[in-house]
């Protein structure tokens, strides 16, 4: 039996720009239960253009690690229903996207919520849960 070399190889990483947006269904889920599964499912995802997904070898439903100097999260890939030109991915404004936002605001008091740069790569890990985001804070206390 040969050795499955593939499993030792790291999946390629791609640089990506992310901007945040609002989604009425996610806002509704937050109003009902911000610790519920619906809110988590609608928040822990990244919407990408078909072109970008093809370039990066991603399929809808794949899980990706999105990482930058501010933190790292695992989210599910969704294909944009729009005819997006690519180059920019979209995440709903949530505690997940906020892991990737820098605290630096140039002294202005407004972080760059809509201008995130990160690296993205395919992973097999489960998506980041709200409980794990809470655990991060509990450990600091």
């Amino acid at each position: 039996m040969g050795i499955d070399v593939g499993k030792f190889l790291k999946n390629p990483e791609y640089e990506i720009k992310i901007t945040t947006y609002r989604d009425i269904f996610q806002v509704e889920a937050q109003e009902c239960d911000r610790f519920g599964k619906d809110y988590e499912k609608l928040s822990a995802c990244i919407v990408m253009s078909k072109n970008d997904m093809a370039k990066m070898g991603l399929k809808p439903g794949d899980r990706v690690k999105v990482t930058n100097n501010n933190g790292s999260i695992v989210v599910e890939v969704r294909e944009s229903k729009r005819d997006e030109p690519g180059g920019v991915a979209f995440m709903v404004n949530s505690p997940w996207s906020n892991v990737l936002v820098s605290e630096e605001s140039g002294g202005r008091g407004i972080p760059e919520f809509k201008n995130i740069t990160a690296k993205i790569s395919l992973v097999k890990e489960e998506t980041t849960t709200l409980e794990s985001l809470m655990e991060y804070f509990r450990k600091l206390q």
Binding site: T19, V27, R34, S102, G109, P111, F113, K114, N115, F137
Partner: protein, 403 residues
């Protein structure tokens, strides 16, 4: 009819069916509003140091924390009634505390310019009755203020717009993504690159001045032509625009000067963010980021973001907001090392790490009061059902009494 506290449109045409003091059904509300009126499933409980307590003890503990703090901050307020906001400002004065709200990292700067009368604005009724050109700029109203287009801007008939969207109105979207609002603006969606708003405005000013714009000339000239012909135009400025142009609001004012029939309206999400801005402005001349230090001091250091980044506060009262959820994680780490008091109807991420939690009634559902709509109109909130929870205004009064 009830008023919806779901967003700053404060829709006052909501039918609520109540059975046995429980909300069974809402009619006319959007998804966001219906969910707010029906309420969260996790009601907050009074706790001290994560242990169950009662409201009176929690209020006393909160007063002790704030009274002993060297540099307390009072934050939140955009989901509080005007009456609670005024009490909050009084409490900040009494404590010599910093007070800030969510507009600090949202639309505060634009609302401050509006209250300083730096540009023309209008009411939502004027939009409905007169507006023929509607520009949604960095704003996806369909997802953030979902009844904006149907109640006020694009779809309704108005006094001078009897043919509504079919003939009398043009809706335009300028955005980084083709939002649900942009989908409605058929043929009038202008996609820009992230942070490309400034370049777009400059090109548009050139086109309106009779010059050939350097950036996408054909599209910009076409847009300039529509704007010039407008009888009554409105730019609905979303946070996509305000985040992008940062402090450079003069550029937006310069654009408005080129199109004298246009008005600018900041799009506000939380139901009473503008109320807080107006209440603090009346008291201090500023809309947020204020410290009562014998006198009124306004500084960016007193924004929630900079105060947390510089670790300059040692106690934080959060009223109707969830900074742990809505601010960068790298920033809110500091919350873990200070004492946090949380007043909210529901369990939030912030309440889960708070030293003291105090539950309150849901304003606009379990208690009445007033709020300020996104265009500045004062709206009465309804009390739809009875509740044993104290209002946020009452809790703040008790807190001041306990100091």
């Amino acid at each position: 009819m009830a008023t919806c506290p779901g967003c700053a449109l404060l829709c006052d045409d909501i039918e609520v069916i109540v059975e046995n003091n429980r909300i069974k059904e809402t009619k006319n509300a959007c998804r966001r509003g219906a969910a707010r009126i029906k309420g969260c499933i996790n009601r907050l409980e009074p706790k001290i140091a994560q242990k169950p307590s009662d409201i009176e003890s929690a209020v006393r503990k909160a007063a002790e924390i704030l009274g002993n703090a060297k540099s307390p901050m009072l934050f939140g307020w955009s989901n509080s009634t005007c009456e609670a906001q005024v009490k909050g400002i009084q409490l900040a004065k009494k404590l010599g505390a910093i007070i800030d709200d969510t507009s600090s990292f949202c639309q505060g700067l634009l609302i401050e310019k509006l209250l300083q009368k730096k540009f023309r604005t209008c009411t939502l009724e004027e939009v409905r009755n007169k507006a023929d050109v509607l520009v949604y700029w960095g704003s996806d109203a369909q997802d953030s203020e979902p009844r904006h287009l149907s109640r006020f801007s694009y779809f309704p008939r108005g006094e001078s717009r009897q043919r509504g969207y079919e003939e009398d109105r043009i809706a335009i979207a300028i955005d980084v993504r083709e939002s649900n609002t942009a989908k409605i603006c058929k043929g009038h969606f202008y996609r820009i690159q992230p942070k490309g708003d400034r370049e777009f405005i400059l090109a548009l000013i050139d086109a309106l001045s009779g010059k050939v714009p350097a950036y996408e000339p054909k599209k910009i000239l076409e847009l300039a032509s529509i704007l010039k012909k407008a009888e009554y135009g409105v730019i609905f400025a979303g946070i996509g625009l305000t985040y992008s142009i940062k402090d450079d609001f003069d550029i937006l004012v310069a654009l408005a000067d080129k199109i004298p029939n246009f008005h600018i309206m900041p799009m506000v999400g939380h139901y009473n963010m503008r109320g807080f801005n107006e209440n603090l402005f009346k008291e201090t001349g500023f809309v947020n980021r204020v410290k009562f230090d014998g006198k009124v001091v306004h500084d960016n250091r007193y924004s929630i973001v900079e105060a947390l980044r510089e670790k300059s506060i040692d106690a934080l009262l959060v009223a109707g907001s969830d900074p742990l959820s809505s601010l960068p994680r790298s920033l809110v780490r500091h919350l873990a090392s200070i004492r946090v008091i949380c007043i909210d109807p529901c369990v939030t991420m912030t309440s889960k790490i708070a030293t003291v939690t105090i539950p309150c009634a849901v304003s606009g559902v379990e208690s009445g009061g007033t709020a300020v709509r996104m265009d500045g109109k004062i709206i009465e909130l309804s009390k739809i059902i009875e509740s044993d929870y104290p209002t946020d205004e009452e809790l703040l009064s008790r807190l001041m009494g306990a100091l």
